[in-house]
């Protein structure tokens, strides 16, 4: 049985003009210690999926349908109190996008992590929490003495490390990282990604890496899921996805990432832009941009089908 099993997750945001269909029928599963990349353009619902897994959608957001099974518990059915005490941080934790701004500048880093630990584990004493922070800091490669510093005294890379320490504070089994590399320099980014990969192996963490940069995912993950306009369009292991992408969107996205050692080439791009999710196109949501569009694509939504073992595609062109 998988550690995490997301079934037909559908989440909408209500705004004045209607409901934004941010995530629709997304299903995937994650084994213990497995790393999955979640990629797609901005606004495709990657972050909404992450927020749903922790039950922290904004007030106007709602999970309309679907189940999120964590071992046996359906997270979508839990109360706020149960979520706080059992799920958030103790089972699933999140490294927020933009480490630069994710910390409160008015508190020392230590105080913020103590707060996080105490919120999710009320029995722990402050002293014990601090001891734990010292251990965490060593694990992520920061000097434990630096815990008493304020966020502005940290460099970008150090803040990202502190965020990772904070995320690991209550021994979660799943770590979600939302764009962990953006806003960092290549070298620092490489350091952080390496650290995350090491920690994942050492702690047997399952990880969901959200990024629009496919090369980051290819370096760090086992599986890759591609989202387009709120839908999962293709899912499979990283190697298959990069070597034999089936969905035209995945193909386009991969072609938009030239490797540094590949011969100089004309960069290919996907023409057009993603649809408005208040009123997404009928049928396959990718049909207005798809180079291979057929009649059926405009009428019926393609289901996610297994084309080879563990490789799922939602496209009428996909053949078994």
């Amino acid at each position: 049985m998988p550690l995490l099993d997301v079934q037909n997750l559908t989440a909408y945001y209500t705004i004045k003009r209607g409901s934004v269909k941010a995530v629709e029928n997304v299903s995937f599963s994650l084994e213990e210690g497995e790393a999955m990349g979640l990629a797609g353009e901005s606004g495709c619902g990657k972050t909404t999926v992450a927020l749903s897994l922790l039950g922290i959608l904004p007030v106007n957001g709602k999970i309309v349908r679907g189940k999120i099974l964590l071992k046996d518990t359906d997270i979508t059915k839990l109360s706020e109190k149960e979520l706080r005490e059992k799920i958030r941080w103790n089972a699933v934790s999140l490294i927020f996008q933009g480490a630069m701004n994710a910390m409160n500048p008015m508190y020392s880093v230590e105080d913020q992590i103590v707060e996080a630990i105490k919120t999710h584990d009320s029995s722990i004493t402050k002293k014990k929490a601090k001891e734990r922070i010292a251990k965490l800091f060593e694990m992520v490669g920061l000097e434990p003495e630096r815990a008493r510093n304020y966020p502005h005294e940290y460099s970008g890379g150090m803040r990202q490390r502190a965020m990772i320490a904070m995320a690991l504070a209550c021994n979660p089994s799943i770590l979600i990282a939302d764009e962990p590399g953006t806003a960092l320099d290549v070298i620092v980014q490489a350091q952080v990604l390496k650290l995350m990969t090491e920690l994942r192996k050492r702690l047997n963490l399952a990880m969901i890496m959200i990024s629009h940069d496919l090369s980051i995912i290819s370096e760090t993950c086992d599986k890759l899921a591609i989202m387009y306009a709120g839908k999962l369009v293709e899912l499979g292991d990283v190697l298959t996805m990069f070597k034999k992408p089936v969905h035209p969107y995945t193909q386009g996205l991969i072609a938009a990432f030239p490797g540094i050692y590949t011969p100089k080439q004309e960069m290919k791009a996907l023409p057009g832009s993603p649809p408005n999710l208040l009123n997404p196109p009928k049928g396959c949501r990718f049909n207005p941009r798809c180079p291979y569009v057929m009649d059926i694509c405009k009428k019926k939504t393609p289901e996610l089908k297994e084309v080879s073992k563990g490789h799922y595609v939602a496209c009428y062109l996909a053949k078994k």
Binding site: E219, L239, I254, F257, Y261, M267
Partner: protein
């Protein structure tokens, strides 16, 4: 012989460090941020030079100083052989027609109160092209070049009605509308989604080709630079550490910093998990840069005192491949 369009010589830009009143009284020396600290390069007609490095290495400052948006501290800037380092605003104005810049953030670089047509025609009006018919015609042509088709649908829109990619197209159109000789693009795609990046770069490349513009492409993304530039210069803490054609620098990287950068670039090919971290720590403060070679504090191939004390010169190791590192000090091919 191809014409040199832009040339900089020993260009420096230092910023004052702002200190409190009492600190100014008590501190013995004035502190400076050595943002750009003595760089030389030139760009010939129709060529694309990439300028790469980590944040804080002085890439953006270099771009702005060349455009004379910032005053250089010392050094010289030549535009088509003419020294423009100290020209005043009035004498610069006619030259601005030939030098343009595309900024990083298309969400901030376009005036939200102006329509697309106003934005694109403004540089023409400033340059004294007032014939409305000509202005309109040029706006239409450049919008078509920028693939904002049909132009009629875009000219009356405001920036908030455009997507990020379309905004950057407008910014690009604005830069190219006067057929400039030289364009600086400061991380033009770093704020955009990966899928649109290629598209915008392709657009810039086609305009560069069409108008034979010389192009300075400032970036931190080496993988993209590989497919955009003819030549590339790698900057570290305000200095150029390696320079050459893109193939020389990427396939035959010499400087330990360039090598480290290359190894840190994530590769989209999953069969080669070769991300490697060879250097520790982050870029030191440019207020008090390390003496000798500025990279010695992080260098994996540190060879002793010479690195700490002597500043390595940028030398030619053959075929115009320049490197500033003591490892290669005996291998100069040119004086």
């Amino acid at each position: 012989m191809t014409e040199t369009v832009i040339k900089v010589e020993n260009l420096k830009k230092w910023f004052d460090v702002k200190m409190g009143f009492f600190k100014t009284l008590t501190s013995k020396q004035k502190l400076f941020v050595h943002a750009v600290d003595g760089i030389d390069f030139e760009i010939t007609k129709g060529k694309i030079l990439g300028l790469a490095g980590e944040s804080g290495s002085g890439k953006t400052t270099t771009g702005r100083v060349i455009m004379r948006l910032l005053e250089p501290t010392s050094g010289k800037i030549f535009f088509k052989g003419k020294d423009i380092t100290h020209l005043d605003a009035d004498s610069m104005r006619p030259l601005r027609r030939q030098m343009q810049i595309v900024f990083q953030d298309p969400y901030e670089s376009l005036n939200p109160r102006m329509t697309v047509s106003d934005i694109i025609s403004e540089p023409m009006k400033l340059q004294g092209i007032t014939d409305e018919k000509e202005v309109e015609e040029r706006v239409n042509i450049i919008l078509e070049d920028a693939k904002l088709i049909p132009p009629g649908e875009f000219i009356f829109r405001y920036p908030h009605e455009l997507s990020g990619g379309q905004r950057q197209r407008v910014a690009t159109a604005r830069a190219f509308v006067l057929n400039p000789e030289f364009v600086v693009a400061d991380e033009p795609v770093s704020m955009l989604d990966a899928s649109i990046r290629a598209e915008i770069l392709q657009l810039m490349l086609s305009l560069v080709k069409k108008y034979k513009t010389s192009f300075l492409y400032i970036t931190h993304d080496l993988a993209l630079a590989r497919h955009v530039c003819d030549d590339i210069a790698i900057m570290y803490l305000g200095e150029i550490v390696e320079q050459g054609t893109i193939d020389q620098v990427i396939f035959e990287s010499l400087h330990p910093y360039t090598r480290a950068l290359m190894k840190a670039v994530p590769d989209p090919d999953p069969s080669s998990k070769r991300i490697e971290v060879v250097i520790k720590g982050e870029i030191p403060s440019p207020v008090n840069p390390p003496p000798g070679c500025r990279f010695h504090t992080r260098c994996p191939s540190y060879i002793g005192d010479v690195c700490k004390k002597v500043k390595p010169k940028l030398i030619d190791v053959g075929k115009g491949h320049l490197v500033a590192c003591h490892l290669y000090s005996g291998k100069s091919k040119k004086k």
